[in-house]
């Protein structure tokens, strides 16, 4: 599900688990990222603010 909501940063491995691109999320993708994190049924995704 998250890979569909944020294909720019999330791909799926051969078992269907998300592989996250570590590139920071630009403002244009922020809403999509938030939705992807919220949609996770196991709360496995966290949207973190980079301190730099």
């Amino acid at each position: 599900m998250c890979a569909e909501l944020l294909p720019e940063r999330i791909t799926l491995d051969e078992w269907g688990y998300p592989v996250i691109d570590p590139e920071p999320i630009p403002r244009s993708l922020l809403d999509h990222a938030r939705r992807a994190a919220q949609a996770c049924p196991t709360f496995a995704l966290l949207l973190e603010r980079d301190q730099d």
């Binding site: 491995d13 051969e14 078992w15 269907g16 688990y17 592989v19 709360f43 966290l46």
Partner: protein
């Protein structure tokens, strides 16, 4: 274990006054900066009594009330200057952890982690069975520094000897004058699984949950056992604290290296005359440890450093290896929880790797898809190589790819360690892997295993590879 002359110790350096009710400690010569330190005074495999412990190491007063905060900060500073890092495999700076717990809200609790899940490690059970009071001292000192009122000592549920010696040591402490003013000591058991000794897994277990790691906040130092800030330290780490409190950071740093000061307990086993737990100083050559262990019993094919979360290096490295993270890191290896295993030339490294890889896959907590699937896929690949009739290059690629896919994608470091173990095996034993891929099992495949696993793990006492010649 290395036999040793007793070391005498100087009187407590951190305390302004002698403990009430005890004779003032007389001046004793300062301890010499040599080994053994933790293992000093050990003359048998019996647990050292409290009296003997105090005679060898001297007493440490643990004050409550007015002096405690100053004393606590002094201890944390001393530990900081010593450079002491955790001995459970993580190597986290101990002072930093203490400060994190001290800074959290609520009354802290101290957990002594002796849930030694690594099959090739014996150091923690050795400490609990022979030197429980060193470990208890460390726990009480940290409790005192943090204002904690409880110290929970966690032992594997299958380790009955350790439970017995710890229970008796706790009893000796309770009968001492002034015991009521100190933190309460309790013994708890933990499941014997490989990941059960991981810090958050242990805390979850103590809270009545499963012994499975978590990585979502809060961390144990903020909210752990009963939602209290929890200090979880390896048993050996606390034994070092007990000596640093007595002799100071400067003394501690007289052994070891600048980057990795102090001494450490190493479990060395395999093709060695006298396998066991030895105390080394960091930076010692592997050869000196092998010599202390009576030398190799047969040719060594390879050395496994760091246990099943560690890495293999070929025998050609034996003469040059130094026991420090600084030296081993560039080799892609680590000491982990202080484990060295020498695989004999007679063993089949492919069969051994396959067996342990399968066990590692089974020992995961089952929480994280990449670990559950990835470690199984890795084990299947190594098993396929062992059974033969596969393309070696393709299998190696698969191992590489799976390794990259699994590493860092679990809630704990278990998959990372398994990946390191398996990929370093594929690299170190490239010729044997290629040979098995093409020709299938070798004569050595069904030999009794040299890599230890808990009783009942795998397929009995030796590796059963389908199609192996009897």
């Amino acid at each position: 274990m290395s036999g040793s002359p007793s070391l005498t110790s100087e009187s407590p350096t951190l305390m302004d006054e002698t403990p009430a009710g005890r004779e003032p400690a007389g001046l004793r010569p300062a301890p010499t900066p040599t080994l053994p330190r933790l293992l000093a005074g050990l003359e048998s495999h019996e647990a050292m009594s409290l009296d003997d412990h105090l005679a060898i190491h001297g007493d440490i007063a643990l004050h409550r009330g007015r002096g405690r905060a100053r004393e606590g900060e002094h201890l944390i500073e001393e530990i900081e200057h010593s450079g002491l890092r955790g001995h459970g495999g993580g190597g986290f700076p101990v002072a930093r952890k203490l400060r994190a717990v001290a800074g959290a809200r609520g009354r802290p609790i101290v957990v002594v982690n002796a849930a030694e899940g690594e099959p090739a490690s014996q150091k923690d059970r050795t400490l609990l069975q022979t030197l429980p009071h060193l470990v208890i001292d460390g726990g009480l000192l940290c409790a005192n520094a943090l204002g904690a009122r409880e110290v929970i000592i966690c032992v594997c549920e299958s380790e009955l000897s350790s439970q017995e010696t710890v229970a008796r040591a706790i009893d000796e402490r309770r009968r001492m004058p002034g015991a009521g003013r100190l933190a309460e000591l309790t013994l708890a058991t933990a499941p014997s699984g490989y990941v059960a000794g991981q810090e958050s897994a242990l805390v979850n277990h103590l809270n009545g949950g499963p012994a499975k790691p978590t990585f979502t906040p809060p961390m144990p130092f903020q909210q752990g056992v009963r939602r209290r800030p929890t200090l979880v330290n390896n048993a050996e780490t606390l034994a070092h604290v007990a000596l640093i409190a007595r002799h100071g950071a400067h003394w501690f740093r007289e052994l070891g290296t600048e980057a990795q000061p102090g001494s450490a307990l190493i479990t060395i086993s395999g093709a060695l005359a006298h396998p066991g737990v030895y105390e080394i100083e960091y930076g010692a050559p592997l050869n000196s440890l092998i010599a202390a262990g009576g030398g190799l019993t047969s040719g060594a094919r390879a050395v496994l450093l760091g246990g099943y979360a560690g890495a293999w290096l070929g025998a050609e490295y034996l003469d040059e290896l130094i026991l420090s993270e600084e030296h081993l890191g560039p080799h892609g290896a680590t000491l982990g929880a202080g484990i060295v295993l020498l695989l004999s030339e007679a063993a089949c490294p492919v069969a051994e790797t396959a067996r342990v890889a399968r066990w590692l896959a089974e020992e995961g907590a089952g929480q994280c898809g990449p670990c559950v699937n990835g470690l199984d896929a890795l084990a299947l690949t190594v098993e396929a190589i062992a059974a033969g009739g596969v393309n070696a290059a393709r299998c190696n690629q698969r191992i590489s790819r799976l390794g990259g896919l699994v590493y860092g994608r679990g809630a704990c470091a278990h998959p990372d360690g398994a990946v390191r173990f398996i990929t370093s095996a594929a690299r170190t034993f490239a010729a044997e892997f290629a040979d098995h891929a093409e020709h299938g099992p070798c004569d050595a495949c069904n030999r009794p295993s040299e890599l230890p696993l808990p009783a009942g793990a795998g397929r009995g006492g030796s590796t059963r590879i389908p199609g192996a010649r009897p």
